[in-house]
C-alpha cells in the first residue's frame, strides 16, 4: 500500500500518510501507476512533499486547485509547508 495520497492528477504535491525520514523512498500512485519518490527531507504524518520540481513563484496545486505559491524553489521530494509556500489570499501584510 502506498504511504502517500495524491488528491488530483493535476497536483504537484502529495500528502504523506506515515512519518518518513529523509533518504527514504515513498510509494505514491500517479496516473494509475505506483511510483516511488525519493524524499530529500523528513516528512511528518499528514504533511506534503513535492511530486515535481516547483519553481519560485509557481503555483502549488492540491485538490487540482491553487493552494498558494512557492516562496523559494522546491525540489522533488522536499517537504512543502510554510517555509517554502505562502498564501495568495487575505494578505493584509502586503497592503
Amino acid at each position: 500500500m502506498e504511504n502517500a495520497m495524491v488528491m488530483n492528477p493535476k497536483d504537484n504535491v502529495a500528502v504523506c500518510l506515515a512519518k518518513m525520514n529523509a533518504g527514504e523512498t515513498i510509494g505514491v500512485e500517479m496516473d494509475g501507476k505506483a511510483v516511488g519518490v525519493a524524499l530529500k527531507d523528513a516528512i511528518p504524518f499528514g504533511h506534503k512533499f513535492a511530486l515535481r520540481p516547483i519553481g519560485k513563484g509557481q503555483n502549488v496545486i492540491k485538490y487540482g486547485e491553487v493552494i498558494g505559491v512557492a516562496s523559494s524553489a522546491i525540489e522533488q521530494g522536499r517537504h512543502v509547508h510554510i517555509h517554502n509556500i505562502e498564501s495568495i489570499r487575505a494578505r493584509g501584510d502586503k497592503q
Binding site: H47, Y63, E65, V66, G68, S87, R89, R91
Partner: protein, 385 residues
Amino acid sequence: MNAQFMGYRRPDGRVGVRNFVAVLSAMDNTNPTTENIARTVCGTVPLCTPFGRTQIGHDFEMTLKTLAGIGRHPNIAAVLVLSLSLESANRLADMIRPSGKPVEVLGLQECGGTTGLLAEGIKAAARLVLDASELNREPCAFSDLIIAVECGGSDTTSGIASNPATGMFADRFIDEGGTIILSEPAEFMGAEHLLAARAVNDPDRRRIMAMVKWFEDEAKRAGVDMRGINPTPDNINGGLSTLEEKSLGAIVKGGTRPVVETIEYADPPTQKGLVIMNTPSAACESMTGLVGGGAQIIIFSTGRGNSIGAPVAPTLKVTGNPNTAQRMPENIDLDLSDIITQRTPLGKAADRIWQNLLKVASGKVTCCEVLHEQQLSVSRFGPSV
C-alpha cells in the same frame, strides 16, 4: 410518511431530537443564577450569554434574534427566561412564545435579588421539567431534520478522510429529503468559486462570493498575514500550509449537491437541500448561529482533535486522524481513521456516519453531551455603548 427516527413533535410542527428545559439568561447579569438553577434542577440546560446589556442597533438585534432562535429551538420543550428586570426578560420571551411551547419569565429585581430569583427559578424550572417529561418521542422523517456540518482543529486528514466522508453522508441525506447547512465562509477562501458554481440562482452565487470577500477585506484591513491565525497553529502543525488549502479540504464536508439558499447568521433555512449560512470561523460562534437557525444535530469533523460542542444540539465528533482517535477517544464519537490506515472506501465511512446519526437523533447521547462540552457564544457585530 416513512418513519426514520424517533423525535419530539413540537407545537410549531418542528421536531426535536432532545427534550431539554432551557434556563435562558437574557443578559450577562443573570448568568450566575441561571447556572445555579440549572445545577439544581435535573433535565435543564443553562444558556448563558456574556453580553446583552447596552448593545445597540444591528448588533443587539442579532443577539436577540440568536437567543430567541435558540429558545424556539425544537430540541427545547420549554423555556424559563431570566433577566435583571421583567421587561427585558419579556422582550426576549415574546420572541419565543410564537413557537407555542411553555415560556416563563422572572426578573431579578422583581424577585428581590439573587436568593429570590434562585428560589423562584428552581420552582418554575422544576415544574417545566415535570411537565416536559410527559412528552413522548414519535416517528419522524429525515425531512424534519436540519443537520449542520462543522469542522474544527483541522489538519490534512480532515480534507482527505473525515470531511469527504461527511460530505458523502450530506449528499445522501439531502437525497432523502433532509437539509444540510454549511457555514464559515472565511474558510471557503480559495474554494469559493467551486461553491458559487453550484448555486441554483445568480443572487445566491453573488452572495457566496460577497460573503468571502467581506472576510478577506476584513483580514486585509487588519494589515496582517492570516497565517498563524487561520490556518491556526494546530492546523499548521497538522500539515495545512495556507488558508486556501484548509478551505479546499473544508468545503467537501458539505458534499456535492446544489446550493439552494444562502442565509445570514442564525436565520432558519427555508429550503430543503444544501444551505450556506454566513458565520465566523470560530466553532463556538458558528455553532451558536447554526443552532439559532434551528439545526437539530451538528456533525463536527476534526483532525488534530477538538472537544467543544454546540449548545442544545447534539454534536457528533468524527475524525479521520488515527493519532487523534487514539489520543483523545473520550471526545470522538466516530473514529473514521480506517479511511487512512486501511483505505476503507468513503462510502462505507458515510454509512457509519448515517447509522450513528440515526442513533443520536433517536436519543443516544454524544461525547460532548456526556462531558458537558457545550458553549453558547453569540457573534458580536458592533460594540456595546
